[in-house]
């Protein structure tokens, strides 16, 4: 089992979700975050006080998958989330020791296979 952690642009979320459904990935968790990387920073001005915004809105998608699914999932995200501009984001693949489905107490791959 692996946990795939993809950091993407908010405006790309719908495309990535679509791509993941096509890749048969049915379960995932989305978190709104802010990122810092190579992007040029926005400058905002409030009543003569100027601030540089070092953090940019991003979205993290966490996907728990069994080994066979890792590559397809990564590819799906990679293609759907790419714009070619700095700021597209990263994908981290983390090892997982166990997964439990709370509803059924099923474990591991059983816990992440589609319900239907």
């Amino acid at each position: 089992m692996k946990l795939i952690k993809a950091i993407i642009r908010p405006e790309k979320l719908s495309d990535v979700l679509k791509a993941l459904y096509q890749a048969e990935v049915r379960g995932l968790t989305v978190t709104r975050v802010q990122g810092h990387g190579g992007e040029t920073e926005e400058v905002e001005t409030y009543r003569g006080m100027s601030v540089k915004m070092e953090l940019v809105e991003k979205i993290v998608i966490d996907i728990g998958v069994s080994e066979p699914f890792v590559d397809v999932t990564v590819k799906a995200v990679m293609n759907a989330a790419r714009t070619g501009e700095v700021g597209d984001g990263k994908i981290f693949v983390l090892p997982v020791e166990a997964v439990h489905r709370i509803r059924t107490a099923e474990r591991d791959s059983a816990a992440v296979t589609p319900v239907a």
């Binding site: 802010q34 040029t40 400058v43 905002e44 100027s50 601030v51 540089k52 915004m53 953090l55």
Partner: protein, 465 residues
């Protein structure tokens, strides 16, 4: 018509008879200065009760534009909330100043049936003297608040995708070449629609059909937003939408009630109808929502209230309260279904200014021609139900003329403005949101990772940008 003869028959007891169709004639007449009339005017002294009501009515209509900013602002995603609200607020400035400088004179000056003149430019000759029973400057300011909100109304059609500078240029020009002449047609004693005895108590044609037509034209000229029909645009703050609707309803009491230009029975009629018509629309809209959206929605309730307010605007001083309930109820249907159709169409009139104001104002104007009665307002006209079918035709001509003129000239202005500054930002900037890009602000900043910078840095960074 009615009015002049009336004045002929002694200027006495004018106020209670003032009607939407005639009231705005007064300043115009002042300028004609036909001796007989002039003296009749001098005779009419300033009345305290009337002035008190018009003072507060002016404040109420001013407040409406702030309400509109929330009605619109709540309906857009948070990345565009400031841009949307600023499109209303900036009208306070540019449309407001231009009104005093020249637009008021274009609207209410001169004797041509089609357009005013510059005789009252820079408020020349607009002072504390009586216009009807209130000070002339107060009448000017009251009318100015109408010009401001009409310009702001248009923005709903193009929010989130127009360069702000071009927008400011557009509404500034629009106020001079569209709003002011149209007001002249309908509300100046010499206006050609006024001469036809078209009834428009508080601006169904001048404000709502006018703004609705401009909105439709603007939505078409600018085209849909980049992700239209690809990505849902959800209201980021529905309570703001309800706040806007509440403020609009509150202010509309001055909009319709104040159009009597005095604290008269006519004003009472206007206020009562402005209470009952939207109430009826709200009921019918909610029931339609249950049938078609499976729920009574809050956005629907707010929208229904506004549609009802729009529909009663031209009729408020000409129809009975029970007729107002009928108008409010009937006006629900066209707006409701056109709005539903629009959502699925190629037309990105983003906040449905056309369906709510254009269609609502159109329906209201026609129904005014149906329900109007001189029993309540002798200076008005009888409508279809009171044996005068002709009035419906007159109403149709009035709204039709306003609609066509407004739509065409709006296209022309936008083409010209576009030729200079361009109308739309680049697609990727539009997707990122207009607040940061065209105002350099966020609506709801958290301050995380915000670093203070000194000016030299700023210029550096800005250069990089």
């Amino acid at each position: 018509m009615a009015y002049t003869t009336r004045l002929g028959r002694a200027g006495e007891g004018l106020t209670p008879l003032l009607s939407g169709a005639i009231r705005l004639a007064l300043p115009g007449l002042l300028l004609l200065a036909a001796p007989g009339l002039a003296s009749a005017q001098e005779a009419a002294a300033i009345n305290g009760g009337d002035t008190a009501w018009m003072l507060i009515s002016t404040a109420l209509v001013l407040f409406m534009t702030a309400g509109l900013a929330f009605f619109y602002g709540g309906l857009v995603p948070s990345k565009n909330v400031l841009n949307t609200m600023m499109m209303s607020f900036i009208a306070f400035g540019f449309s407001g100043v231009l009104w005093a400088v020249i637009a008021y004179s274009i609207a209410f000056g001169g004797s041509s049936p089609y357009i005013g003149d510059a005789s009252m430019a820079l408020l020349n000759g607009v002072g504390l003297e009586a216009s009807g029973t209130i000070p002339h400057i107060l009448f000017m300011a009251y009318q100015g608040t109408f010009a401001i909100i009409t310009a702001a109304l248009i923005s709903g059609a193009i929010i989130g995708r127009m360069k702000f500078g071009s927008y400011v240029a557009f509404i500034s020009i629009w106020g001079l070449v569209v709003y002011a002449p149209v007001a002249h047609w309908v509300w100046n004693a010499n206006g050609w629609l006024f001469g036809m005895a078209a009834l428009d108590f508080a601006g169904g044609a001048v404000v709502h059909v006018n703004a609705g037509a401009a909105a439709l034209a603007a939505a078409i000229v600018l085209g849909p937003r980049v992700d239209y029909h690809r990505r849902a645009m959800l209201p980021h703050n529905v309570p703001f939408v309800l706040l806007g609707a509440g403020i609009l309803w509150f202010g509309w009491m001055g909009f319709n009630g104040g159009s009597a230009l005095g604290a008269t029975g006519l004003a009472a009629l206007g206020v009562v109808n402005t209470l009952l018509a939207p109430a009826a629309t709200l009921v019918v809209w909610s029931l339609l929502d249950v049938m078609f959206a499976k729920h009574m929605t809050a956005v629907g309730a707010a929208t229904g209230i506004v549609v009802g307010l729009v529909a009663i605007t031209p009729a408020a001083g000409f129809v009975s309260p029970m007729s107002a309930i009928a108008i409010g109820a009937l006006a629900t249907f066209p707006s409701y279904f056109i709005l539903r159709w629009r959502a699925k169409s190629r037309l990105d009139d983003s906040l449905d200014v056309f369906a709510a104001h254009g269609v609502g104002g159109f329906t209201g104007a026609l129904l005014t021609g149906v329900f109007a009665t001189t029993a309540l307002n002798p200076a008005g006209q009888d409508g279809l139900l009171y044996g005068n079918p002709r009035q419906v035709v007159i109403q149709l001509i009035a709204v039709g003329a306003v609609f066509i003129y407004s739509a065409i000239v709006t296209v022309v202005i936008l083409k010209i403005v576009g030729a200079f500054g361009g109308l739309r930002p680049s697609a990727d900037l539009e997707q990122k949101g207009m607040d940061v890009l065209s105002h350099g602000e966020e609506g709801y900043a958290t301050g995380e990772g915000a670093i203070l910078i000194l000016d030299e840095e700023l210029n550096g960074t800005a250069g990089k940008k």
